[in-house]
Symmetry: C2
Subunit: 333 residues, 2 copies
């Protein structure tokens, strides 16, 4: 996996500087195959590396409780930038910047952006270093390029699965977005958050594509789930147990609002939201997920019952209109 | 689910006595459908009930960290008896005793026990109250009946998924075992731990069956996995993160022993051991599971690579013979 910079030298220096003796290493799913190699590099320093093998999809899922429980003195968290303002445990973030070239994929995106003049740029932490290059390519074509920065995330132009505020902040000033990165997940996130045409330039397979049809399909699915949930009698509001996904106050408020809307409401605490875990409760007709909106947005088809975001639950009980939610963006909290 | 005693009155009294305001309720998989009903009973006391929706297969999986994180002041743990000597969190165990009649299933087991005179009895916490009745039926047939009690578990004759010591303690004095309970899981556990013919009397579907063939099949699978792991170069030793499954010292010792045996060894920390989680590490040839032996014994076929128990790993590196492990019992620690 030579496509990423694992910063072995920096982590060795940091471990030595901190005098860590037992290190918990966390990798997101796509980078996990590299974990054993990195662990052996760390072990050569005379340090005990422990690899976290549980699923990890974001810096919201920092393994602080696990590190404490294992007597570790340091977490090395790969693949995401710092998210939580306060960490109760010493943590080093390694962003795993991609070493891929992007110009070729961006060139392929140009014909798809032809009819628009003002373009917003967005990307994940892996490709931030390519934004300048992408901007230049677009500018050479006579485009006006904007990169948003709300200060909510670590870098201008950065997006994460549940926060597209940098894109949203410039949406009114651009006609379309170019997202740089792999797959469609984040490009769809930009489209759903900004309601603007969004093109993904994928440097991994060197392709470009407009994701509007996928975003539209998801919008239709979301509305269908909301309609189904309007008929539901018994709800479970899920509170996430991962440190950056725990919104207990919001969960309690949602319970109250749904109850005022005539629903029977249970509170479920959950770490990994899976179809199997929820299928254990046949008497629940619909779920509301306050933990990670992307489980609702992207994985709905895997679940047997509607699994709404917090905002979608407000639509169910008439506290928010579907139109206002669409305007606000499906992923806005 | 009228087959179990959920002890609603007792838990109401205990909650009021303790003055709990926020209660985390944990149910094992089979009983989870009842959780919403029990939660509503608790809510009527003016207490906030939160249902733990994550998988739970034993009292080893007590949700203390979750309860702390949610600001709960009490855990109500259903379906298992107290396992850990020390709990850092106020916990009420509700054993969920079955209300089923067993004589009919025990009668059906009699022909299968015909050729043996000395019979050991074992059961799970759900059916402990039926042991006297079962003993009487067997005694009337002229059998000598033994019930083991090592003091390791809460009750004489009780078995749990990873502890058959009560059965093992009387194995040398009996010719066969009668296990009372649902499914084959625990009966197979008795057979694998005692190497004695074992009959299950299942009061749920009112049947009886000898489980020796199933136990033999598992023994063959275990030996095949050990042989495959002998050829493996790279191992990951899994340390469980659930409070009653965390054996970090044992994991560290195993790592050393496997390394002395010429293996490359990684340490993985994991909460839920699933095939999907382990598949993320293609460079690992074999896994050693110190968390829950039943994941190795019963679910091996779901995993792509060998997943050994701690004792089986010792067989791989020649620190224990297969014959001695079989004598000791596959589930003995």
């Amino acid at each position: 996996m030579k496509q990423f910079d694992f910063e072995e030298e920096r982590i060795k220096q940091e471990i030595l500087k901190l005098g860590a003796k037992r290190v918990l290493i966390q990798f997101p799913q796509g980078l996990k195959p590299e974990a054993p190699r990195i662990a052996k590099t760390i072990e050569k320093l005379g340090v005990l590396p422990i690899i976290s093998a549980d699923p990890c999809y974001g810096a919201c899922d920092l393994a602080t409780a696990d590190a404490e429980s294992l007597g570790a003195d340091l977490i090395i968290h790969y693949g995401h930038s710092k998210l939580m303002k306060y960490e109760r445990f010493p943590t080093i973030y390694v962003e795993a910047r991609a070493t891929l070239n992007v110009p070729s994929a961006v060139e392929k995106a140009l014909p798809m952006l032809e009819k628009w003049n003002k373009i917003g740029l967005a990307t994940t932490v892996q490709h931030l270093q390519t934004l300048d290059e992408a901007r230049e390519i677009l500018t050479r074509q006579g485009k006006i390029v904007l990169i948003g920065d709300t200060g909510r995330l670590s870098y201008p132009g950065q997006v994460i699965g549940c926060d597209y505020s940098n894109a949203v902040s410039i949406a009114k000033d651009v006609e379309a977005f170019l997202f740089i990165g792999g797959g469609q997940f984040h490009a769809i996130g930009v489209a759903l958050s900004t309601s603007k045409p969004t093109v993904v330039a994928d440097p991994y397979d060197n392709t470009a594509a407009l994701v509007d049809k996928e975003a539209e399909k998801i919008l239709k699915q979301r509305w269908a789930q909301i309609r189904e949930a309007k008929e539901a009698k018994t709800f479970a509001v899920l509170v996430g147990l991962k440190p950056g996904q725990k919104r207990l106050e919001e969960t309690l408020q949602l319970k109250e609002k749904l109850e005022k809307g005539g629903k029977i409401v249970h509170l479920f605490a959950i770490n990994e939201i899976t179809p199997e875990a929820l299928m254990e409760f046949p008497s629940v007709d619909a779920f509301v997920n306050t933990a990670c909106p992307r489980i609702s947005i992207d994985d709905a088809a895997r679940f047997m019952k509607p699994i709404l975001t917090a905002n979608e639950a407000l639509v169910v009980v008439g506290k928010l209109s579907w139109e206002d939610l669409c305007k606000k963006g499906l992923l806005e909290s």
